[in-house]
């Protein structure tokens, strides 16, 4: 019955796997593999935390993960996996080899800044890319290539007009910049290096593509130098606009709170922009070089608490608020490790792992057959059951939780073979002990089981504890190892209780085992049992009085009627002699 239950369990797992197969196409019976077995690149990013600053929170990290995901998607890398690890690191796994451009794109921190808008071209769209205005023909012949100039202001050569007086001065727009603006292709924004632009220089960039309407034209901008840095935002929330009477209008807005530095800077910007007209009336909020919002200035805001209104829904307002709040974080990331594994190396590691597992398994099987004869077959069968459940479980986990089996995980599984087999040994030895004490096989199985399950539970608890602690505190590889070890520990208990024990109960009723065939591994004679046939017992050595009593009671119970009569007669006979 329990075997049927197990089969049902397996079938449930199989159905789960089958459904997973239909969603992920193929791979239905195999767990997903980690990079060290499949090949690919794994980049671990560690946050750069300023001295004295608190470690990034989970929210901040999740925001960072989604920003990094956007960047990688923008680079056209497919099937990248981005996770947080150990509460502070971000792990990026990319199949294949990551080029330098991808890495530097991932590495750059999310930077939020406010820039004044100088010029927009809202009508432009991607077809602009076809406009044949190569930037090389622009009048940069004077030798002052703006890209190379390090000064805070454009050099005189690049700005034939007057030096810009403020960040909204159109004098920032040199002919060269104008040409770059004209030829700028928003599709190549990520490659243009806008996300690492110099904050002291003007910037040519684009709007974000509307995710709901990706075909819509995006606006191009020429922006002035950075005037307010994102770090000065202390909070940003989404909320409904309320009238002066406090009534809620139902219109969504984003409320920003600046710190004192930001309030002053932002006050200066709005007081200047408020008097300007056209595009220059707007300021742009730039995240990673891309304009996420370019609101117009409706008032001079000096209290540091601006409100952005527009066609927001609750969701879009929330997104912008989150971007303002988290995008403003001064956390950058550095590459802590970058590990490339070629696909051939990965598969050879997998093969070696499987080979090692098989060798280990065969050695264990041979040893237990040698030690326990046919009883060893129970070990083998139990191991097979445990292995099947483990495999299904890992596959299920890989489908459900995106778990990937790493080389360390494989090692954990192999090590678990020994630990699982150990429980059977503990159990078998207990049965043998009981046989040595003179019990019959069925009762030895029961008594041995009672003692063995205690030991198995206690020792597996310790093992599980080790795996659990490792899993919780550990990072990366250690986690994969701890997980497989923990899973197999639980499966070990299940198998020994729901498979091995019932099987032994059944076997103890067969003649082969209960008569103690010499190949059964439970031969009382070979075990030097105190039981010497026909209800004669040697005084057991080292058995407590209580146990002695219980085992002799057991022996009396097991006497045949003839034996009992004979015993009675002999005692009668001796009585008769006495009298």
């Amino acid at each position: 019955m329990i075997i049927a239950l197990l089969a049902g369990l397996n079938a449930a797992g199989a159905i789960g796997d089958a459904t997973s197969g239909s969603t992920t196409a193929g791979n239905r019976w195999a767990p997903k593999l980690a990079l060290d077995l499949e090949g690919g690149t794994e980049i671990i990013l560690a946050p750069v935390i300023a001295k004295g600053a608190a470690a990034p929170t989970g929210d901040q990290l999740n925001q960072a993960v989604s920003i990094i995901r956007q960047r990688i998607d923008a680079a056209g890398v497919s099937e990248a996996e981005i996770n947080t690890q150990g509460g502070q690191n971000v792990v990026v796994s990319i199949p294949g080899v990551a080029d330098q451009a991808t890495i530097s794109r991932i590495e750059s921190s999310a930077k939020l800044e406010f820039r004044a808008v100088l010029q927009t071209d809202a009508a432009s769209n991607r077809t602009d890319a076809a406009t044949p205005t190569p930037s090389a023909t622009t009048p940069a012949a004077d030798g002052a290539t703006p890209g190379a100039t390090a000064g805070p202001t454009p050099t005189a050569a690049a700005t034939p007009t007057t030096k810009p007086t403020d960040a909204s001065d159109l004098a920032w727009i040199t002919p060269e910049l104008a040409a770059q603006f004209a030829s700028f292709d928003c599709a190549s924004l990520d490659k243009s290096g806008a996300n690492v632009a110099d904050p002291k220089k003007p910037l040519v960039t684009c709007d974000e593509v509307d995710p709901k309407n990706p075909g819509a034209p995006v606006a191009k901008y020429i922006l002035g130098p950075v005037e307010v840095a994102g770090e000065t935002i202390s909070d940003a929330t989404a909320g409904q606009v309320s009238t002066s009477q406090g009534a809620v209008t139902g219109q969504w807005a984003v409320n920003i709170v600046f710190n004192s530095k930001g309030s002053k800077e932002f006050g200066n910007v709005t007081s200047r922009l408020f008097s300007l007209t056209g595009a220059r009336h707007q300021f742009a909020i730039v995240l990673d070089g891309r304009v996420i919002s370019a609101p117009t200035t409706n008032a001079v805001i000096t209290n540091g608490k601006p409100q952005i209104t527009g066609n927001f829904t609750q969701a879009t307002a929330k997104v912008l608020a989150d971007q303002l709040k988290f995008g403003a974080l001064p956390i950058g990331f550095t590459v802590q490790s970058n590990n490339q594994i070629s696909a051939t190396l990965g598969s050879s590691q997998l093969q070696s792992g499987i080979l090692a597992g098989l060798i280990g398994l065969i050695l264990v099987v041979v040893y237990s057959l040698f030690q326990y004869r046919l009883l060893g077959l129970v070990t083998v069968a139990s191991l097979v059951v445990a292995a099947t459940i483990t495999y299904l479980f890992v596959t299920l986990l890989s489908w459900r939780e995106g778990y990937r089996l790493s080389l360390a995980g494989v090692a954990g599984l192999i090590v678990a073979i020994g630990i699982t087999a150990d429980s059977f040994i503990v159990y078998f030895e207990r049965i043998r002990d009981e046989l040595r004490d003179g019990r019959g096989l069925s009762s030895a199985v029961e008594a041995g089981w009672k003692r063995a399950i205690r030991t198995v539970l206690a020792s597996d608890t310790v093992n599980f504890l080790a795996a659990g602690v490792l899993f919780i505190v550990a990072v990366g590889n250690v986690k994969g190892f701890a997980l497989t070890l923990g899973i197999t520990t639980i499966i070990d208990v299940l198998v020994v209780a729901l498979f091995t024990h019932p099987v032994l109960q059944l076997l103890s009723r067969t003649a082969f085992f209960s008569e103690g065939h010499r190949f059964s591994g439970l031969d009382p004679k070979a075990l030097g049992a105190v039981y010497r046939g026909r209800a004669t017992f040697r005084e057991p050595v080292g058995v407590s009085a209580g146990k002695k009593a219980s085992s002799s009671k057991e022996a009396v119970k097991r006497q045949t009627i003839a034996e009992r009569k004979a015993a009675e007669q002999s005692s009668l006979g001796s009585k008769g002699k006495d009298s």
């Binding site: 970058n338 597996d460 250690v478």
Partner: protein, 329 residues
Amino acid sequence: MASFSKFGNELYTGERSYDIVGKRKIWYAVAAVLILTAIIVPILRGGFVFGIEFRGGSQFQVSDTANLQQSLATRTVQSVVPNANPKVTIIGGHSVRIQTDQLTNAQNVATQAALAKAYDVQVKQVTTSFIGATWGQDITRQAITGLIVFVLLAGAVMALYFRTWKMSLAALIALLHDLVITAGFYGILGFEVTPAAVIGFLTILGYSLYDTVVVFDKIRENTLEDGGDSTRTFAESVNYAVNQTLVRSINTSVVAILPVAGILFIGALLLGAGTLRDISLALFIGILVGTYSTIYIAAPMYAHLRSSDELVKKHDKRVISARQASIVK
């Protein structure tokens, strides 16, 4: 098998018995010498050899090449970056691994190309890795946290299960012994300490205690069942339990070590240095030491710790005087 189970039978009935608990001073001395060696020799050698994950640096691996010249790799790397300090290892018979100091991205790319050319393989057969020095430290810090949390929890769980903190203490002392000696092996033989080795090391925690719990369970049973009217002193009861479980200890350890040996064999022979070898090496040593320490350290230590208990003292006194009385008769 017949002789092995006969051996087991004799141990079980007490016909054959090894006096392990009684000779505890010898085992303590052995342990002290081993632990001191495991601590002093690595210090004299100048500490542990840490893997690249702890030092930080760049690593290149040329896979599937017929040419296994080490000097070629050194020359190639030095021709690109003169002071890169390359260390070349042949791995598994068909790969060359080169570890260098931390290189810049440009140097990495140039070195990769140069190596591919020198070994006449495609560029994609040369993998490059870059590891910041903090990575290994992160893992180690987490490992140490895990170690402390585990020791506290396991100590508490065992104290609850066995109803005596003295068993947990004895088990944890044996665990410490295992960890120090396994670490000492790495230090003395100069094996590289890699994150994989740290994983193996942490697994010893679970295994060493697993083994101890199995034996302690029998000790608890024997000392409990023997009760007050036993003819054995407490230490003798413990010793009897250790002897009774000797076959079990041997069998469980052999079975646990066989798969580990399988990984070690494959890892060392086919793959060379790498995750599999590093995990299994630490475990292999750990399981051997752990089995030894359960029998020779944990059990005698427990008997020793309990020997000062009033109840145990009284019991032992009675048993001994009863024995003397029977001799006098």
